[in-house]
């Protein structure tokens, strides 16, 4: 339902009603920000990339075809923006920046549970940051961005079968990294 609305909104933007882009921004700013945050581990870089994506959408609105779906089209632009930014700034994703290390609030706020939950999240984030970039990208797209495998295949310009294999390999490697980090912490 939302995909169809997004498509109509983007067609209106393409045809000159650029004010409709504000609605698309309100809908997609947060998921897009979190997509970049999981890739770059940097809040300022993610804010800049979201802005860059919407600037590009406005600039290249005429390239939006009737046969497109908005979200996969937007993530293709997002992917290009991230690749270009990383190349330009030689952005190295090794350790998450302190701004992303804030402890999230536990749904059950007992002190012990909250501490354990926070440690688990911090460990998962560190593991995700250590995952090779191509695997992190496919894993984030499939696990967090609410996209179908066919859409991810279009974003990454590959076969659907290849996406499935990559997701499986990524989650397997991430689990290994997570276990290694958990082992280091325990010892």
């Amino acid at each position: 339902m939302q995909a169809r609305e997004d498509h109509h909104l983007m067609k209106a933007v393409r045809n000159g009603d650029v004010g409709k882009l504000a609605t698309l921004y309100a809908r997609h700013q947060r998921p897009l920000f979190n997509f970049f945050l999981r890739l770059t581990c940097s809040r300022p870089a993610s804010e800049d990339l979201v802005h860059d994506v919407f600037t590009r959408i406005l600039k290249y609105r005429s390239s939006y075809a009737d046969s497109e779906n908005f979200a996969p089209w937007m993530y293709r632009i997002a992917r290009n923006a991230h690749i270009e930014q990383a190349r330009r700034r030689r952005l190295e994703v090794v350790a998450p920046d302190p701004a992303t290390q804030r402890e999230p609030v536990s749904p059950e706020p007992g002190p012990e549970q909250r501490a354990e939950y926070g440690q688990n999240v911090a460990l998962l984030r560190r593991a995700l940051a250590r995952l090779p970039e191509d695997k992190r990208e496919v894993l984030v797209l499939s696990r967090f961005q609410n996209l179908r495998y066919e859409e991810i295949a279009r974003i990454l310009d590959c076969e659907v079968g290849a996406v499935k294999v990559r997701v499986y390999r990524a989650v397997r490697q991430l689990e290994q990294i997570y276990n290694e980090l958990a082992g280091e912490k325990a010892s």
Partner: protein, 263 residues
């Protein structure tokens, strides 16, 4: 189903998104293969554990930044006040438009005839204009060779202001498109060359640059610049990119949509 095929279906299986036939085949395999069963259960738990990474809210200020960008864009595409006044003032009937034009022409001729012009003074003004134009060309060239990207952007801007850029400036712009490290500078150079895209040499070198560019944004800008021209060379270059497999899908689609519009 073997172990390798089974692993391919696991993430969809965990999300309950697997179609019925592969789901049954996968479950049959898991019943017979203890290793896959153990791994599937372990990774499924980890897959759901990943959901603990919470979403974060972007800074509230970023919305203001977006609104400002959108307002700037709208201002840039809106006709200026002078345009709107002229639009209202200028008569709509063609006969009246012709009469107005003829009247203005007559006034211009009479005024020109009436004014006494000092020929020597006019010569000096022309020489000064030439010198200023030549200085501008030199400034543009020297800025284009700077190491700082912002200085090179200024160089592109200077070259864009020249009414008739010399061949050296055009050549420097084309080299910027091909070799500059910064995408923004390359994009600005393509924009500056756009008004010259009807010239055969410029067109030929833009067409050569199109398939070898590593930035999809620059490729799209080159396609737009080439699409201004009606020559067969420009059309062929766009068509070749539309058929290339190793270019970015966005670029390919843009090239296709340009080709369709031109047909």
């Amino acid at each position: 189903m073997n172990c390798e095929q089974a692993s391919e279906y696991l993430p969809e299986y965990w999300d309950s998104a697997l179609d019925e036939i592969p789901r049954r085949e996968l479950e049959a395999h898991l019943q017979t293969c203890a290793a896959c069963r153990e791994e599937a259960a372990r990774l499924k738990a980890f897959w759901f554990r990943l959901g603990a990474i919470p979403d974060e809210a972007p800074d509230a200020a970023s919305r203001g930044r977006f609104d400002a960008m959108l307002a700037d864009y709208r201002r840039a595409v809106r006709p200026s006040r002078v345009d709107r006044i002229l639009e209202n003032w200028w008569p709509r009937r063609p006969a009246v438009q012709v009469a107005c034009a003829m009247g203005m022409l007559a006034i211009g001729l009479l005024a020109g005839h009436a004014l006494t012009v000092d020929v020597q003074g006019r010569g000096e003004v022309a020489r000064l204009r030439d010198e200023i134009a030549s200085t501008r060309q030199l400034v543009a060239l020297s800025l284009l060779r700077e190491s700082s990207a912002s200085e090179r952007l200024k160089g592109v801007d200077w070259s864009d202001r020249l009414p008739h850029p010399e061949p050296q400036v055009v050549n420097a712009l084309l080299e910027t498109v091909n070799y500059d490290d910064t995408v923004d500078v390359r994009l600005a150079a393509v924009d500056a060359l756009r008004r010259l895209s009807s010239e055969a040499d410029v067109q030929s070198r833009m067409a050569s640059a199109l398939p070898v560019q590593d930035s999809p944004l620059v490729q799209i800008a080159l396609i737009d610049a080439l699409s201004d021209s009606r020559s067969g060379q420009a059309r062929d270059a766009i068509r070749r990119v539309a058929e290339l497999r190793n270019v970015d899908p966005l670029v390919r689609e843009h090239a296709r949509s340009v080709m369709e519009r031109k047909q």
